[in-house]
Assembly symmetry: C2
Homo-oligomer: 290 residues x 2
C-alpha cells in the first residue's frame, strides 16, 4: 500500500493553493502530497512575468527534487505567467489552474460571456481571455487586488469586503450590455469568500472555482474514477466537458502531507488550516536563495 | 561641486520609502541618492523577522557596494525587525525610521499616550512600544494591514479606505479611556492617505509622519542646518527634541538619483512618481539572488 501511491507536488506563492489541495485530496486521498508555499516572496500577483517565472521554476525544480511525479500549479498568477516555461522545463507532467477553470466556465455558460476576477498580474496576462476564446467565449476580465488582503485580514464575511466586491463587480454584472452568466474565481484565495460573492452576483450567475475543476482534471489524468462525460448532460448545458462530469467516486486511502515554506513555519501552520480545512502539520522551512 | 556631496543610500521593500526620500531631498538637495526597492520580494510587513533581516542585510550590502556613505532604512518593518542586525553589519552609519518617529511623537504628546499604526510585522515587533517607553510614553499599537493595499490600489481618497481606517482606529481614539493625542504613521505608505486620516482622527490629535522626522534627523546628522532646539519651544510642548525644531534652511543644489529595483523597472517608474512627488527615471534592475 505504501508504494504505487502517486507523489503529487502542489505549488503556490503562499496559502491560496491549499484550497486547491483541499479539493484534490477529496478526490485523490490515496496519495503523497508535497506542498510548496513561497511565503517569503508572496504575493506573486503584483509582480512581473519574468520574476514570477523565475520563482515558479525554482519551486517546480524543488518539488521534483523531493520526488514529485506530478506537478499542480495551484496559483493562478504562476499558471498565467509561467505555464509555458514550466511545461518546457519540468521533467514530470504539470497541470495549471487556468485551463480547468476555463473549461468549466465554458461548460456552464449559455450567453458565452464570462467574467473572470484575479490578481493584477493574472488579469494583465489575459491568460483566461485566451483560454476562453478557444471555447468561443467572450471574457470580461477584472483585476480585484484588494480581495486577497481582505481574505488574509480574515474579513471573510465583512461589510467592507462586500462593498469592495460590489465596486469591482458592478461593471461585470450591472453595467454591461452582454451580461456574463458565469464568474470565474481566478485566484485561489477567492473560494474563501465564495459565500459573500454569491450574495453580490446575480442569482442566475454560476460561480466557477478553479480549485474544484483543477482537482477533477488531475483525477482524470491519474485515471481515478471514470472520465464519463455522459452522465453530465442531464443537468449541464450542451458542450459540457469531462471536467464538469460528476466527481469520480472518491478513492479509499489516507493522504500523507509534507509542507515546505520559504517564510515562517509557525505562521504557515497557524493560517494554513483555514485554507486547507484541517490542521497543517509537518511543515519545513526551505531557502531557495531568495 | 561634483564631489564633497554625500552619497546617501535609501532602502525600502518597495515604493513607500520614496515618501521618506522626498522629505530628505527637500532638506538635503545637494547629494547623490541611491534608492533600493526590493520590489520582487515586497511586502515585508507580513513576513517573519528572520526573512526580513536577511533581505534587509542584502539590500544594505548592495547599497554599500554602490558607494553609499550613509544608509537610511526607509521602511518601518525593516527598521523594526532588523535595525540591530543592520547596525552590527553595516560599514557606514545607518538611520532608521522608528527612533525619529518616536522622538517626534514624544515632543508632541501631552497626555503621554500615543497611538501607532503599521504593518503586522512592525506592530508585532513592538519596536515603537519600546522606543516610546524610553520617553515615558504609553503606546497603543494597532496593525492596519489593509491600508497598504488600499494605497497601492490608488484608493487614496475613497469611502472604503475611510471606513477601513475608522474600523482600525476606533479603539485608539474612541473606546480608550487614556486617549492618545498623537498618531504615528508607522509605515511609509501612510503619508499618502494623511489627508484622509486627518478626517478620521479627532482634530486635536497630532499626526506624526516618520518620513519628515527621519529627514530632519538625517539632516542634523549630516550637519546641515543648525540643530537649534531653542526656537522650537514657543509652539512645542515641553520636552521637545531637536527633531521637532524648525526644518533647517534648505541647502542649495540639485540631487542626482539612481534607483535600483528587484522587480519590473517599468512598474517602478510608473508608480514611483506618485510616492516621490516627481518623475522617477534612471531605474536599474538588480537581482540579489531571490
Amino acid at each position: 500500500m505504501s508504494r504505487q501511491r502517486p507523489v503529487i507536488g502542489v505549488f503556490d506563492s503562499g496559502f491560496g493553493g491549499l484550497t486547491v489541495l483541499r479539493e484534490i485530496v477529496r478526490l485523490v486521498p490515496n496519495a503523497e502530497y508535497l506542498y510548496f508555499g513561497d511565503t517569503a516572496r508572496l504575493p506573486y500577483g503584483t509582480k512581473s512575468a519574468e520574476t514570477v517565472a523565475r520563482y515558479a521554476l525554482g519551486a517546480c525544480h524543488f518539488l521534483e527534487s523531493q520526488g514529485a511525479e506530478h506537478l499542480v500549479i495551484a496559483c493562478n498568477t504562476a499558471t498565467a505567467l509561467a505555464m509555458d516555461a514550466i511545461e518546457a522545463n519540468a521533467h514530470v507532467p504539470a497541470i495549471g489552474v487556468v485551463e480547468p477553470g476555463a473549461n468549466a466556465a465554458s461548460a456552464l455558460s449559455k450567453t458565452r460571456n464570462v467574467s473572470v476576477i484575479g490578481t493584477e498580474a493574472t488579469i494583465s496576462s489575459h491568460a483566461y481571455h485566451h483560454a476562453l476564446e478557444r471555447h468561443g467565449i467572450n471574457a470580461y476580465e477584472k483585476a480585484t487586488p484588494l480581495l486577497v488582503p481582505l481574505v488574509e485580514e480574515g474579513w471573510i464575511d465583512h461589510p467592507v469586503t462586500k462593498q469592495v466586491a460590489e465596486i469591482y463587480l458592478q461593471d461585470a454584472f450591472v453595467r454591461r450590455e452582454q451580461r456574463s452568466d458565469v464568474l470565474v474565481l481566478g485566484c485561489t484565495h477567492y473560494p474563501l469568500i465564495r459565500p459573500l460573492l454569491r450574495k453580490v452576483v446575480p442569482s442566475d450567475v454560476a460561480i466557477v472555482d478553479s480549485a474544484e475543476s483543477t482537482a477533477k482534471a488531475l483525477a482524470k489524468k491519474l485515471g481515478i474514477g471514470p472520465p464519463s462525460a455522459s452522465a453530465a448532460g442531464a443537468t449541464q448545458a450542451a458542450g459540457a466537458r469531462a471536467e464538469m462530469a460528476p466527481a469520480p467516486e472518491p478513492q479509499e486511502g489516507t493522504p500523507d502531507f509534507r509542507f515546505f515554506v520559504t517564510d515562517s513555519v509557525q505562521k504557515f501552520r497557524r493560517l494554513g488550516s483555514g485554507f486547507l480545512g484541517h490542521p497543517v502539520d509537518n511543515v519545513e522551512h526551505v531557502d531557495l536563495g531568495g
